[in-house]
Subunit: 191 residues, 2 copies
């Protein structure tokens, strides 16, 4: 499974096979069942997760007591509770598998050690966080700009495979809809 | 002015005075008047800005034709349109000074060259983007969680100096209020 991570790294930084074998020692490969909890809101987040196969989501329980999904992580995406992972503070978010998943995990101590021992990984993570931040900035603009309905339409248009892959109740949880309301909108699109 | 940047870097990475003198060659120091445009939505963003003194804001024009402010950058904070800066695509945001400001600017070409010539700066920018991303993730949670009123109250509580420093019409533009509505809320707090 680790060749997926190697092919991914190759897009960002030069890493020999020998270096990669050493880099992999900082990670563990774990398998999770569908709907398995990786982190619960309020816990200390001990791991950063890299998805090799499957799908994760990040969510919190809103004031109505329902799950508000804020992010998904597909293959070759990272996911963690960033503040909690760095500062050992209680997590703002929960993380759960959406599908059966194969994941690389690394603890914050191992990640710090990896960055010290292989400074080229600083470049890799710099690019990863730079792009994640850029995407999040655009996300904030979208939240202010689009109505929930328009956001759903743009999701279908930009990421049709993703909308097909994710259960509808989670798309609803991501958009802040009830599943019933999403179902109504879908009927309207078909008719 | 550059000693402010040196003191800031010292918090993240070891840099000798000689190295710092070389690093400064990649930057320009610029002065901007109050309310001066550094970037307009739709332009290509050519610079990353580090605030030495003063205050910047990032905004876009929403569908009602009013300015929605999404971010502020105080002293020792970075600001750019991240996608546009990296990919040379039209900017999603405008950037403007709120106060007369002293700013370090670096072009994307110079920043790439700086990172190649001084790999220790990869670590610095990795930490900067990592924290910016973490803050933005929490921001998304706040947007979903707080009403605009509650968000204003938490701003006053967490950042009283900041709320004092920024003109009220810009606080309103950040919160998505009209200035009149913000003024009403403020009266309600006083009474």
């Amino acid at each position: 499974m680790s060749e997926i991570f190697k092919a991914h790294l190759d897009k960002f930084i030069p890493v020999t096979d020998e270096e990669f074998a050493s880099i992999m020692n900082y990670f563990e490969i774990k398998s999770f069942a569908k709907k398995e909890d990786l982190l619960e809101e309020g816990q200390i987040c001990r791991s950063n997760y890299f998805v090799i196969k499957g799908l994760l989501r990040k969510f919190f329980i809103n004031e109505k007591g329902t799950e508000q999904t804020t992010d998904f992580a597909l293959e070759t995406w990272w996911m963690t509770d960033n503040f909690s992972f760095e500062r050992k503070t209680p997590a703002d978010f929960s993380i759960q598998t959406v599908e059966k998943s194969e994941v690389l995990t690394i603890s914050s101590e191992s990640q710090e050690k990896l960055l010290n021992d292989f400074p080229i990984m600083e470049k890799y993570f710099r690019i990863v966080y730079q792009r994640a931040f850029a995407a999040n900035q655009r996300r904030v603009k979208y939240i202010f700009t689009y109505s929930k309905e328009d956001f759903y339409f743009s999701l279908i248009k930009q990421y049709p495979d993703f909308v097909q892959r994710v259960p509808q109740y989670l798309i609803a949880s991501f958009l802040g809809f009830t599943p019933e309301y999403l179902s109504e909108i879908r009927k309207r699109i078909v008719s």
